[in-house]
Symmetry: C2
Subunit: 316 residues, 2 copies
């Protein structure tokens, strides 16, 4: 470990704050954590690479926010309460002001969800951020992909597609409305919604690859199929007036706003609406689970709709 | 997630094997793990980048081995039993044969330590491997950096310096003896030794930055100092005949063979030797903990020795 790396870690450590259950945080060979005896541990790891997962010009604070948000979104999809995380940061050079700005975004979101930064490392290399997030869930209470049942409603939180619209504008050199850009740069992981859906939803996934692609993951894991009515897809004010085929491309195939897609018994419709009343997001019924394999989307004329592409492709 | 990424993950999942305590492994938004109620969770994260942490020409299987080994070494330094890990793999392109070879090394070491691969991701980007390893330790039984006491012996496992000698040869375009090269490419994390030192050692650290640098970390955390007799440093057959100043440079400042440095009461000398009898490595007393701050190394004439450099510098 060089003096520069040691300084960066001291900088991160000084700002990491406190969280319950941490016997030993940053500063030893490993962190030492106390998992409550009646809880299961939920663990997810996601990496963001410059130019692949965010445009090169993204502000460091937004990169910090997003690198934690994508991991919190996975915890949300499991119905878990965020607890601790580690951060592995590869940087072309030891740049304290970049790290400070990155931490502004990372720790802003971490504080909102009371997740403790307990370890990690800083290394030299092309800009890359790997986060591992750990959460806690009551034993048996986790939301899974493989529990969808024929006859379930299919729901989605929020107004999907906003981030994909912003990304397309950016890639075409146009300026996106600030509200859409915010959804791309600062996705809000649906942690509170995931918590409240535990016990109410059958299956759940976060939409990181696009609604149709991620619903396909639920269906394949559960051995079922799904039918989606695209006209039911809730659209933000920015997207409401966009021609529907174009809008559905973003909404059904873009994943960057990290909403949740879940299935639940029709008996739970009212309970679900009430449960989400107390969170920052509502949910909308957009289709149902069927026995026939595959995910099919239908347009306003009940004709099957073919998406322009299915989800974001890392290895194109 | 693209078809290519999905294929890679399916490949990894098929080979990941089974481990106790895994309620849900690879294939959902997150893994679901059961931590035994009388254990604390030990968590460490380390990233390896091509050209920084391993030479570009390193065989994929060796990269796989090493990326897990450096994390297991941190668990070893805490006295923890390896339990689970996640793997985030950034690759320039989706290359199944590279991933297969990487997994040969990674899973070979994982199987030796019965650690379960439970999650992670694959992304496009410059070659980079981030691993988070989780281990278990009896409550209160973890080895820490901040517990060294004045009067303690300072010990080191194995024959440090071998990997640094191999690395120097490599960097100078010379061929290193196979036995040294093996120590660089396939470091053996001292997991069994760490386990057996729990309750016997006061403080412990793995030597990733070099003996003197890492012993400095123990001393600073514990508010003490240390004196090391370089003539006591155990040398492998390959290094035994090398001129001592040159050899000590590798042994005192090279960290790539990931031995353990620990401190313990002189009363425990026999117990420590006996405890390590049942592991793959022995330990040697090389100095003692003193009240005067700082780490000082002495040569055969009891003159203070100045190292050529102090540890490996990531941000040079």
């Amino acid at each position: 470990m060089s003096a520069a790396e040691f300084d960066l870690i001291a900088r991160i450590r000084a700002r990491a704050g406190q969280r319950g259950g941490v016997v030993l945080g940053i500063g030893d060979d490993a962190a030492l954590l106390q998992v409550p005896p009646d809880r299961q541990l939920v663990v997810t790891a996601d990496t963001l690479n410059a130019g692949v997962h965010f445009p090169d010009a993204t502000a460091p604070a937004d990169i910090g926010w997003k690198s934690l948000a994508v991991n919190l979104s996975d915890l949300a999809a499991m119905g878990a309460v965020p607890a601790w995380c580690t951060l592995s940061l590869s940087l072309p050079q030891a740049d304290p002001s970049w790290v400070d700005a990155f931490l502004d975004g990372f720790l802003d979101l971490a504080d909102q969800h009371a997740i403790g930064l307990v370890g990690g490392d800083t290394t030299r290399g092309p800009l890359s951020i790997s986060v591992t997030a750990m959460g806690l869930v009551e034993s048996g209470g986790a939301l899974r992909r493989d529990r969808a049942r024929v006859g379930d409603d299919v729901w989605v939180t929020g107004t999907p597609g906003d981030a994909a619209a912003a990304l397309e504008a950016l890639q075409q050199g146009r300026e996106a409305p600030k509200s859409l850009r915010q959804r791309l740069d600062r996705p809000m992981p649906r942690v509170a919604a995931g918590r409240r859906l535990s016990g109410l939803a059958h299956a759940c996934i976060d939409i990181s690859d696009g609604l149709l692609a991620d619903l396909t993951h639920i269906c394949e894991s559960s051995g079922v199929g799904a039918e989606i009515n695209l006209v039911e897809l809730p659209a933000s004010a920015d997207l409401a007036s966009v021609e529907s085929n174009r809008r559905w491309g973003w909404q059904a195939c873009g994943g960057d706003d990290y909403e949740l897609c879940f299935t639940a018994s029709p008996h739970n419709r009212d309970l679900i609406v009430q449960a989400l009343d107390f969170t920052d997001v509502s949910a909308t019924r957009i289709g149902r689970i069927v026995s026939e394999q595959g995910v099919r989307a239908f347009d306003a004329d009940a004709q099957e709709w073919r998406p322009p592409s299915r989800g974001y492709e890392h290895f194109l």
